[in-house]
Amino acid sequence: MIVQRRRTRSLGLASRYLILALGAVVLVTPFAFMVSVSLKGRTMLLEVPPRLFFKNPTLDNYVTAWTSNQFGQYFVNSLGVAVATTVLTLLLSSMMAYGFARFRFRGRGAMFTVLILGMSIPGMLLIVPQFLLAKDLQLLNSLPGLLPFYVGGSLAFNTFLLRAFFERIPRELDEAMEIDGAGPWRRYWNLALPLARPALATTAIFTFLGSWDEFAWALTVINDVEKRTLPIGIALFTAEHGTQWGLVFAASVIAVTPVILVYILFQRQIISGLTNGAIKS
């Protein structure tokens, strides 16, 4: 009985790995081609069928993309915008979340409801009036001009997540600090924020990824070539230079690598953050 059970279990394990391996192959193949093409010299690109593995890989595409096609500049642009967006969003949304979680004031319920309802507004609905707003505020064709819109777009969701987290912090801790004479700002900064560090890390990562990858808005408002972010840099390079796939994919690898590194470094954090969020909702 026991032997038989163990045998079926190991059979189950084998077929489990088989399915997972099959899935992994389907998943990895496109990435493998991307990296492979980015390492090919000019002459090998025309090869049909394209070979995944080949002799004499070269980094020429990376050098060309980074220097003469300004992808280095785009990388710096994207990094600056994403970091600034993340810092501003975290500050504003954690303050809002703390206000909603810990204080009673007129209109609190209404404001929170409006915030949640706003999450279901499709971004494309806003893009036209936001464009006019950006024009009035002279924020068109400017990298710092992207920030208000990136921050505004990610406030609702982050506030929602962080409020749920703040509400689980026992109020007794606040009360103890208050007895010691700490005002609201100190309770927020020295108590709530440090305790919410896991939730803050998760929201930080997703806000960073969101603005690092944002495409439609940057495409709409950025005109100058040297002000492009990586997503529109890559998309417009492809549109302008036809099919120099070696360069396109080298730039793509440059754009994707930091994201993958961040994910692998923080994956435990991300999964537990998502888990908390999922259970909450």
């Binding site: 496109p30 979680a101 609905l125």
Partner: protein, 318 residues
């Protein structure tokens, strides 16, 4: 079980406090609340709420971009035009196709992967990370990558299909409506499976091990245990994921824009690419705004219908 037991003393204490001063437990009154909420809410109001209202107004106008020109109100004319616009109908049909083709596989494959990766096993983290990689990869990058894979003459996909003999000559994937929609849908599935897997993994982690064992002792096989123990527990999550996937599918944008550009001859337009074209190619902001509200209306209605259907099923099964 054990968690509930250890948690109960704190709950009891919290109850005591709350009966003594119910008002205090709900939070403090006054100014500090506004100070914390105001900066974020004002920013939100300026860049989200105000533009949303403005779009609503614009959708009833023949919007003139040039300064000094008045934008006359034209009633429901933009909406009436939308209903008669064949491309609008086609774009909604295309996004319906996209939703129908991408949502079930994302759910089913995501669930299979989640179940396979739920129990401890060697290399579990490796697979979890691997399947999530497309989710975090930029839409621009994967769209261009799939455009290259689905190229007609030197595309990898055609090469695979011809070498295993499924097709005799190269398919013009991105040059025809339905094959192009299929290619974009395959990208959608490939990119989205890891997301539903991760959310479902979180939900599966909450399934009671005791209940599974009890069912096993009662003689329930794997399939029956899934049906009667696992499924009821994750049902809420499945409903949420479905609603979010449908919503996401109706909002498909960068992959269409970069793989087909909505072409050939508007054959593969979806609502967002068509709205974008009306607004920023034809500069018809009023019409674009009306189309946006039409889409938002559909998204809300469809989400509510799904939610209602889920509630109905739940009540029936109780």
């Amino acid at each position: 079980m054990t968690a509930a037991v250890t948690a109960s003393p704190t709950i009891a204490r919290a109850d005591l406090v709350s009966t003594r001063s119910p008002g205090r437990r709900r939070g403090r009154a006054g100014l500090p609340g506004y100070v914390f909420v105001a900066p974020g809410f004002l920013a939100y109001g300026l860049v989200v709420l105000w533009p949303a209202l403005q779009a609503l107004v614009m959708s009833f106008q023949q919007y003139k971009l040039r300064k000094g020109l008045a934008s006359p109100f034209i009633g429901w004319a933009n909406y009436a035009r939308a209903i008669q616009d064949p491309v609008v109908l086609r774009s909604f049909a295309n996004s319906a196709f996209y939703v129908l083709v991408t949502v079930p596989p994302q759910l089913i494959i995501g669930l299979v992967l989640a179940i396979l990766l739920d129990k401890a096993m060697p290399a579990r983290t490796f697979f979890r990370v691997l399947f999530y990689l497309p989710v975090i990869t930029s839409w621009v990058v994967v769209s261009l990558l799939f455009k290259w894979l689905f190229a007609t003459d030197d595309g990898v996909f055609n090469w695979i299909l011809t070498s295993i003999g499924l097709v005799s000559h190269n398919v013009d994937w991105l040059g025809q409506r339905w094959t192009a929609m299929l290619a974009v849908s395959l990208l959608g599935i490939w990119k989205g499976v890891g997301w539903s897997m991760l959310i479902l993994l979180a939900s599966l982690a909450g399934v009671s091990e005791d209940l599974h064992e009890a069912a096993a002792i009662d003689g329930a096989g794997t399939w029956r245990r899934f049906l009667y123990v696992t499924l009821p527990h994750i049902r809420g999550t499945v409903v949420t994921i479905t609603i979010l996937l449908v919503m996401g599918g109706l909002n498909v944008f960068p992959s269409i824009l970069l793989m087909t550009g909505g072409g050939p001859a508007d054959a593969t337009q979806v609502p967002l690419t068509y709205i974008y074209k009306q607004a920023f190619t034809f500069l018809d902001f009023g019409y674009g705004a009306a189309l946006s509200y039409l889409l938002a209306f559909f998204v809300v209605v469809i989400s509510l219908l799904q939610y209602g259907a889920a509630k109905l099923v739940e009540r029936r099964s109780e």
